[in-house]
């Protein structure tokens, strides 16, 4: 175990203990500890900008959790802090068992956060997620074992199905639209952003660590991507609740990410770029989903009855435009590179499909945008997430060459 991880775990433990003594103590202790850790990571590791990004995210999480009603009695702070920590570990980790451990840590945290308010609907969302994600992890671990034991095809299929359950890829998506409407919005913000990003990062690292690939796996990924992008694009068209729209959007974006992974497995020469694009796609949707979920009070809100803060409205609108894929926001570039990858890999129909499904999905994004612009303005909580992430969408979009090169370093 590397010294970074030891230090990191120590930080989390200290934060948890502090939170147990007094919630406000954690509020102070966690950001300071996490930032110290990342300051160390920044000087010792090559991925300096990524490390500072995690630090910023952590602080945003912590600040965003203040003043929320919670049954976790202060435990939500270390939980929230643990997720960027898990991500940090996932970036540096390489062994298969450690990767699974990180995945477990990341999901465990979100189970709790989704049910943060303790209402029956919160619990339902959490349970549905636990069922799918738990069985998914079981399948994935079994698959990894099989693959390591010399049965790569079956193992690969199990890993794909397992992660499809974990990430909510059509037709293994069942929990996503349900959980996204009844969970606590802060928990969902984290689940839809870092939860999924960590999962896809772990998936990519697993595939590479186990040496899985070939046309069969590629076909599987691309097929799931095609189905998911169509489903996500079309199903959201008639839905009227914000949570559902974000759920279908999430399904579609994960599908695009799967397409990129598939192209990477198909063409070895495109592999580093394809994996970076897959991560970039998830990063784009993660940033937008975090901001959007944290700017609304209740995920079940219908489009007509939205109420957002003044600043949150601006931020959220920018985020929707990013999801729509408007340059120079971050949502544009992964899709652009995905189309380019499809062309380079000799799959023009896939590029056309990406364009068409994006065009179809644009309709519900625009519907969300108009309802945000017409939304009732309320006083100011919820600004932090939306405004920070909207700034981030611009930065990650404009700096796309840097982001892509960092993400390919991660892989």
């Amino acid at each position: 175990m590397s010294p970074e991880i030891v230090i990191l775990l120590a930080v989390v433990v200290v934060a948890a203990v502090a939170a147990h003594i007094r919630a406000s103590l954690a509020l102070l202790a966690v950001p300071v500890a996490v930032m110290l850790y990342y300051a160390y990571a920044a000087v010792s590791a090559p991925l300096v900008s990524l490390a500072s990004l995690f630090a910023a995210l952590t602080v945003a999480f912590i600040l965003d959790f203040t003043g929320r009603s919670s049954v976790l009695r202060g435990l939500e702070f270390p939980l929230a802090a643990a997720l960027p920590a898990a991500l940090g570990m996932a970036v540096y980790a390489s062994g298969v068992p450690l990767l699974f451990a990180i995945l477990v840590l990341a999901t465990l945290v979100t189970y709790g956060l989704v049910a943060m308010r303790g209402s029956p609907s919160n619990i339902e969302a959490s349970v549905k997620y636990i069922v799918f994600s738990g069985s998914g992890k079981a399948l994935a671990i079994a698959g990894a074992g099989l693959a390591a034991a010399g049965s790569p095809t079956l193992g690969g299929v199990l890993i794909v199905v397992g992660f499809a359950l974990e990430l909510g890829v059509f037709p293994f998506h069942g929990w996503v639209p349900d959980a996204f409407t009844v969970g606590d919005t802060r928990g969902l913000a984290i689940l839809a952003s870092l939860g999924k990003f960590v999962a896809i990062l772990v998936l990519i690292k697993l595939l590479l660590a186990l040496g899985l690939g070939g046309s069969e796996m590629a076909a599987l990924f691309i097929a799931l991507g095609v189905l998911g992008s169509i489903y996500g694009g079309v199903a959201g068209l008639t839905t009227r609740s914000v949570g559902k729209i974000l759920a279908y959007s999430s399904i579609a974006h994960t599908a695009y990410s799967f397409m990129a992974i598939g192209i990477g497995l198909l063409r070895n020469d495109l592999l580093p770029l394809a994996m970076a694009v897959a991560l970039y796609e998830m990063l784009a949707t993660a940033v937008a989903k975090y901001g959007l979920f944290s700017s609304i009070e209740n995920a079940d809100m219908s489009l007509g009855s939205l109420s957002v803060s003044r600043l949150g409205r601006v931020g959220a609108s920018i985020l929707v435009l990013s999801l729509l894929g408007l340059p120079p926001l971050v949502g544009f570039f992964p899709k652009l590179f995905l189309i380019l990858l499809a062309m380079w890999a000799g799959l023009p129909w896939l590029a056309i499909l990406v364009v068409l499904t994006s065009a179809v999905a644009a309709i519900y994004y625009i519907r969300l945008l108009t309802s945000l612009l017409n939304a009732e303005v309320r006083d100011s909580w919820g600004d932090v997430g939306a405004s920070l992430t909207s700034a981030l969408t611009l930065a990650l979009g404009i700096g796309f060459p840097m982001v892509l090169s960092i993400l390919s370093l991660v892989v």
Partner: protein
């Protein structure tokens, strides 16, 4: 540098004038045209011939290149001085107009565009000016955008369901639409020429490898190329726009629609004639293009001359006469190829082209003067109809004298300049049966000329009018008087100079011409003058009866061509586009994109969402199906 200033100074000065007051705009723009006229004179006097070239877009063969050759020097001198004189006239004529900024800027813009055409030696660059004059023509024809009744052309009646009057806006649209048709063909021809021959330099194209274009591609290419000049110079069947373009201010009619822009078409024909003759020498099929020019020119000349006999408006008579003379010039250029083919002698082709160039000068001088003079008449008498005035000589002596002098030149009476240039043009087309048209034109031209003069200035005085102010009459008097010394100089050295200029441009050793045919037209000119004088000077008009009246009606209604253009083509186009809109846009595209597609996606979306019932056991079924699907994919790949 001097060349750039010569071309650009009108538009630059008029741009400076944009923020100034009305009077200052007029003076500044006029000053700009004077600068350009003086520079053109300087270049004319310098006696050097050269080509300047600044590459612009190499990939398209576009370079800002200008040629200072005999031909462009003569044309530049003519254009720049006419622009200046008409600018002087406009200062007073346009005083108190409600749109001075538009007028003066477009005036300067026109002058610069026209000078680009004159000096450009790269056809792409020429196109810049070509499109510029078209735009300026549209802008100035529709200058009086309020469409006042006294600015119309035609009288308020319907003929065969077609509105037979044209407002400035409608006339402007008519002008630009007609010219754009030719422009489109012209651009295609240029693009095709460049893509197959690799150059658009007017000198470089002379020795082009025409064999690269096989069979009928070559005549078709030239046909497309002459479509530009044919529409710009208002040749049948594209002459209608010129007649309705008379809705513009008279100064504009004088400058653009008599002296310069419409001549640009002929000028382009002249400068590309060595290229076409070069092609003709290797491909006899190109002769059809020359024949086409000859035939269309003669048809235009005869048709518009007949219409000029019947027109009821001052400016319409002059516009018809302009089209007739343009027809004569077009026919001359056409004759050059025919003569070349008949004689097999390159020198024989030079004379008709020289005739066209000479007649550009001869006609421009007299017609600009006539337009300005009758503009003053319209201005003072307050009507655009000939029959509303009579005996104006009593009040407008200076104008009347100037108009008589200019009209004599236009009719081709010796010793005015018009006589000599017209004689050259008539001699050029005096080949074969075309001689009859030359005879007819000689006979009819003095009749409409004397008709216009007689009905306007002679006879009983009915209304009291004022003489035009000196700032207005000075330019047209100057041009009218210029016809005499220029005419006297012509036999001494003028004709020879023009012929040598053209011969030099064609790089032909000498000019061959037979002048036998000329005397017959001359005889008919005398007859025409006699008949015209009897009808309109002695008798002051005639009452038409029977078949003559029918003929007059047909000519007065312009051979019913407006019905074809405005109702059948224009209305038909509108009807077709409306039908297409309903059939394709509404019934197919709107139905598909706005009804079928949304409802299909709505249905599909509802179907997908129906899968989402919130029951986990249902989701397990989906998972099972998903696993089966993955199995199938793995087995298939």
């Amino acid at each position: 540098m001097i060349e750039a200033l010569l071309i650009l100074s009108p538009v630059l000065f008029s741009a400076i004038g944009v923020p100034l007051r009305e009077r200052a705009k007029a003076v500044v723009t006029t000053l700009g045209t004077l600068v350009s006229a003086l520079l053109a004179t300087l270049i004319f006097m310098s006696g050097q011939e050269y080509v300047l070239e600044y590459p612009w877009i190499r990939g398209l063969g576009l370079s800002l290149s200008i040629h200072v050759t005999g031909i462009s020097k003569v044309m530049g001198l003519l254009v720049s001085w006419l622009v200046f004189l008409i600018a002087v006239y406009s200062i007073r004529y346009m005083q108190g107009d409600y749109r001075p900024g538009w007028y003066w800027f477009m005036f300067g813009f026109f002058a610069t565009s026209m000078l680009i055409i004159v000096y450009a030696s790269n056809l792409w660059f020429l196109l810049v000016g070509w499109e510029g004059v078209g735009l300026a023509s549209w802008a100035l024809v529709g200058h009086w955008y309020r469409d006042e009744r006294d600015k119309w052309v035609g009288d308020e009646r319907h003929v065969m369901g077609t509105k037979y009057w044209w407002t400035p806006s409608r006339a402007g649209l008519r002008a630009i639409l007609t010219v754009r048709i030719g422009d489109a063909f012209f651009i295609i021809a240029l693009a095709y020429t460049f893509s197959s021959l690799g150059t658009l330099d007017i000198f470089g194209l002379r020795g082009a490898e025409w064999s690269a274009l096989s069979g009928w591609a070559l005549p078709l290419l030239f046909l497309f190329m002459i479509m530009g000049p044919l529409t710009k110079s208002a040749q049948f069947p594209f002459h209608e726009w010129l007649l309705t373009a008379m809705t513009g201010p008279t100064s504009v009619s004088a400058l653009i629609h008599a002296a310069t822009m419409v001549k640009a078409g002929i000028y382009v024909l002249i400068i590309i004639s060595p290229i076409m003759l070069g092609a003709l020498s290797v491909a006899p099929t190109v002769l059809t293009v020359f024949y086409l020019l000859l035939v269309l020119g003669i048809i235009t000349a005869v048709m518009t001359t007949v219409m000029a006999l019947a027109s009821g408006e001052f400016k319409l008579v002059l516009a018809n006469s302009t089209a007739a003379n343009l027809g004569l010039m077009t026919a001359s250029v056409g004759a050059s190829g025919v003569l070349y083919q008949l004689t097999g002698n390159y020198g024989a082709a030079a004379f008709p082209i020289a005739a066209a160039l000479a007649h550009i000068i001869g006609h421009a001088v007299s017609k600009a003067s006539l337009f300005m003079g009758f503009g003053a008449v319209i201005h003072e008498a307050g009507t655009r109809f000939i029959y509303d005035v009579s005996g104006l000589y009593k009040y407008m002596r200076v104008t009347a004298i100037a108009m008589f002098l200019a009209m004599f030149s236009l009719m081709g009476i010796p010793p005015f300049l018009g006589f000599f240039t017209k004689e050259m043009a008539l001699a050029s087309i005096g080949i074969g049966v075309a001689i009859y048209s030359a005879v007819l034109l000689s006979f009819l031209t003095p009749i409409y000329g004397l008709r216009l003069l007689g009905l306007t200035f002679l006879g009983e005085t009915r209304t009291h009018v004022h003489e035009a102010p000196p700032l207005m009459w000075a330019p047209y008097m100057a041009l009218a008087l210029a016809g005499i010394p220029l005419g006297l100089m012509w036999p001494v050295g003028g004709e020879k100079a023009v012929e040598e200029t053209v011969a030099q441009y064609l790089r032909s050793a000498e000019v061959y011409v037979s002048k036998v045919a000329m005397y017959i037209p001359l005889l008919f000119l005398v007859l025409g003058v006699a008949l015209g004088a009897y009808l309109y000077v002695i008798r002051h008009g005639v009452e038409l009866v029977g078949g003559w009246r029918t003929l007059w009606r047909v000519a007065y209604d312009r051979f019913y061509l407006p019905v074809l253009y405005d109702r059948i083509i224009g209305g038909g186009f509108a009807a077709i586009s409306r039908a297409l809109y309903v059939a394709v846009d509404v019934k197919v595209l709107d139905a598909f994109y706005h009804r079928l597609l949304p409802s299909a996606f709505g249905y599909l979306s509802a179907l997908f969402r129906a899968m989402q019932l919130g029951r986990v056991n249902l989701y397990i079924i989906y998972i099972m199906l998903g696993i089966i699907m993955t199995g199938i994919i793995i087995l298939l790949i």
